[in-house]
């Protein structure tokens, strides 16, 4: 998070940091509210042993902070930091994921950031679509290694991957693009 490196594009202004933190807090609040939706649908799907599917369907909204921060601030690291802040905020409000929020925030942030990095932080539009893909791949790899997904049957795994990508693509891709288009129309942001 140390950004006072050499180039001016690395130097963060106070205003940008506060904005990023507010975005993080706003999403922390939204995530925290989402938590209850997640719990409810989790109770229904969990009862028939499909909690994993619930996780996949609801993952998309959790991954919106990162690409929004990247697109609005157009800086290296904005997505990662924004997602981390949102995850921390959610944990401090008291979420059902506890400390794993910090880890998943980190993984989700890295996953999304990677998409923009692949374009060398030049093509932000392409970066957004790539970020939905890298976000899915990175978080799925994490689930395979850490969340015990490797113990699931292969058929279920394919289903889980497809559902996860669809959710991330819709929320962290299509919806994010629509939000940014609205903000561009408002002329408040230099986009």
């Amino acid at each position: 998070m140390e950004t006072q490196a050499t180039g001016s594009s690395w130097r963060w202004s106070l205003r940008d940091v506060i904005f990023l933190a507010l975005v993080g807090i706003a999403f922390g609040l939204i995530y925290w509210l989402m938590d209850w939706v997640y719990q409810l649908s989790g109770a229904l799907l969990g009862a028939v042993g499909l909690k994993a599917l619930n996780d996949e369907v609801t993952l998309g909204p959790w991954m919106m902070a990162a690409p929004l921060a990247s697109l609005l601030l157009r800086r290296v690291g904005a997505g990662l930091i924004g997602e981390l802040l949102a995850a921390t905020g959610e944990m401090l409000l008291g979420s059902s994921f506890g400390a794993s929020n910090l880890l998943s925030g980190l993984v989700q942030g890295v996953g999304s950031e990677l998409g923009f990095a692949l374009t060398g932080y030049r093509n932000w539009q392409l970066g957004l679509w790539l970020s939905t893909l890298t976000g899915t791949v990175v978080t799925f790899a994490w689930s395979l290694i850490v969340a015990g997904y490797s113990h699931y049957q292969p058929g279920l795994l394919v289903l889980l991957f497809v559902v996860r990508f669809a959710s991330i693509f819709l929320f962290a891709g299509v919806l994010v693009k629509a939000i940014v288009a609205l903000l561009a129309k408002s002329q408040l942001f230099k986009l």
Partner: protein
């Protein structure tokens, strides 16, 4: 040794707002600045403390403090010479408690840690809040917050203090005690510039008085100062008491704002299909009361809308009956361009027959918004935003419409247009209108009932004073 502006022009990329400003603030001066909203007072003041052009605005000309250009100084050095109190008391602090906030400021200017406690004690004593160190800022009133902000500027050691409408959210008593405080500081050799909409209480403490006229800053001669303390006029209101046909009934209604009690055990009937005006000093809780009627703020006791307890009515049903026009017009917007906003409410209006395309077009024209169709609502001027927000809710036309300061910051022409538009819609559609307004001069003719809100509670008045 002074804070001085020479041949200063400030404004936005597309237009200058104030031109050719020459102003000198010496130690021991208190300058009052008055002028309509949107006339560039805030922009000028932010330029004087060096926040503009860094944070926006277009500036040409020079501002120097004790000979140094303010825009070139680093913030940690500049704050020791000149600093600012802001309009929104609750959006100027970085930390949660008074002590932590003052420590933050002192750390910024590399104050010696061993001497900080003594410095903070002194600053808090000077503003008359010696025991407030451990208090949470979120629990303080508007007046207390501005005193803490003043203590912070004193702790920083600035000689020149710029206050941008600091009393907008401060009750009358705190306003008076803050004015006494400012008078004392001026005697101690501080230089102060303050902008305000209200002339009250400045005559004894100020040394200079400027008014914004058009795009110029014009000094007012001391001989003319008494003209600003205008005698008031009274206008009788037509509504008869007790209220005959009622829309809201409240019994033993009590309200709190945070820890502050603003109303206890109040019994009252609100008139149906009439215009009721609520007046009262800043900070007494008028907005909170309106938010209660809008089902956005908790209450104790009984409050009934057409016989049904308000908190038991589902939101969806409630908001078909009752609409609120927020004080901050940005809170009213859902879409981005003016046309999008107008089309949305036309589709959703409860009185779509009345608000046909022609009627809407006419209203838009009268409010001077005809050329703004494709513009972003967020790029309109403050006055235009205010007019649009009101028009949107008039077009929606729910049976009950609550208006929070609908006239604030409007110029004379707009004021009259807005007043007439409210009156026509109210009479043609039989709306119930309950509004808060400081401005009573032009709009008194609209009013059927007048409620005065004070610490003693809510009481109907036989007249409106303007």
């Amino acid at each position: 040794m002074a804070l001085s502006a020479q041949n200063l022009t400030v404004g936005y990329p597309d237009r200058p707002v104030l031109e050719g400003v020459n102003l000198t603030l010496n130690k021991g001066d208190l300058i009052l600045l008055m002028g309509p909203s949107g006339s560039g007072k805030s922009t000028l003041l932010k330029t004087l403390v060096g926040l503009y052009p860094k944070y926006g605005g277009v500036v040409s000309g020079d501002v120097t403090v004790d000979g140094q250009p303010v825009a070139d100084m680093l913030a940690n050095h500049r704050a020791q010479a000149v600093t600012m109190l802001f309009q929104q008391p609750d959006q100027q602090f970085a930390m949660p408690t008074v002590n932590e906030e003052l420590v933050f400021a002192l750390e910024n200017i590399e104050y010696e840690p061993e001497k900080m406690a003594a410095r903070i004690d002194w600053a808090l004593k000077t503003v008359g809040l010696p025991d407030f160190g451990p208090r949470q800022l979120a629990t303080l009133s508007g007046g207390e917050l501005q005193k803490i902000a003043l203590a912070e500027t004193l702790a920083l050691g600035a000689d020149y203090l710029i206050l941008d409408e600091p009393f907008a959210a401060v009750d009358a008593k705190s306003r008076q005690s803050l004015q006494v405080l400012l008078g004392n500081l001026v005697k101690d050799g501080f230089g102060i510039i303050i902008s305000d909409h209200d002339f009250d209480g400045y005559q004894e403490i100020m040394t200079d008085f400027y008014q914004v006229k058009g795009s110029a800053l014009v000094p007012v001669e001391p001989g003319d100062w008494t003209d600003y303390a205008k005698p008031s006029q009274t206008h009788p209101v037509p509504g008869t008491l007790p209220v005959q046909s009622t829309i809201f009934e409240q019994e033993q209604l009590s309200l709190k704002n945070g820890d502050q009690v603003i109303l206890t055990d109040s019994d009252l009937s609100w008139a149906k299909q009439r215009v009721t005006l609520i007046t009262g000093p800043n900070g007494v809780g008028k907005s909170s009361l309106l938010r209660v009627l809008a089902k956005l703020h908790p209450y104790q006791g009984q409050l009934k809308l057409a016989g049904q307890e308000v908190h038991k009515i589902r939101s969806r049903t409630y908001y078909h009956q009752v609409g609120l026009v927020f004080q901050n017009p940005r809170d009213q917007f859902l879409n981005v361009t003016v046309d999008d906003e107008l089309q949305q409410v036309q589709r959703a209006s409860y009185q779509a027959d009345y608000w046909d395309a022609k009627q809407v077009e006419q209203a838009v024209g009268r409010l001077g918004l005809a050329d703004c169709g494709q513009q972003s609502v967020y790029q309109l001027s403050g006055g235009q935003q205010k007019k649009l927000a009101l028009l949107l809710m008039l077009i929606m036309a729910p049976p009950v419409l609550l208006l929070d300061e609908p006239f604030a910051g409007l110029d004379q022409d707009s004021l009259i247009q807005v007043r007439d538009l409210i009156q026509e819609a109210q009479q043609d559609l039989g709306l119930t209108i309950i509004m808060i307004s400081h401005q009573t001069e032009v709009i008194w003719s609209l009013v059927d009932y007048h409620l005065a809100f004070s610490r003693a509670g809510l009481t109907y008045q036989g007249e409106v004073v303007s």
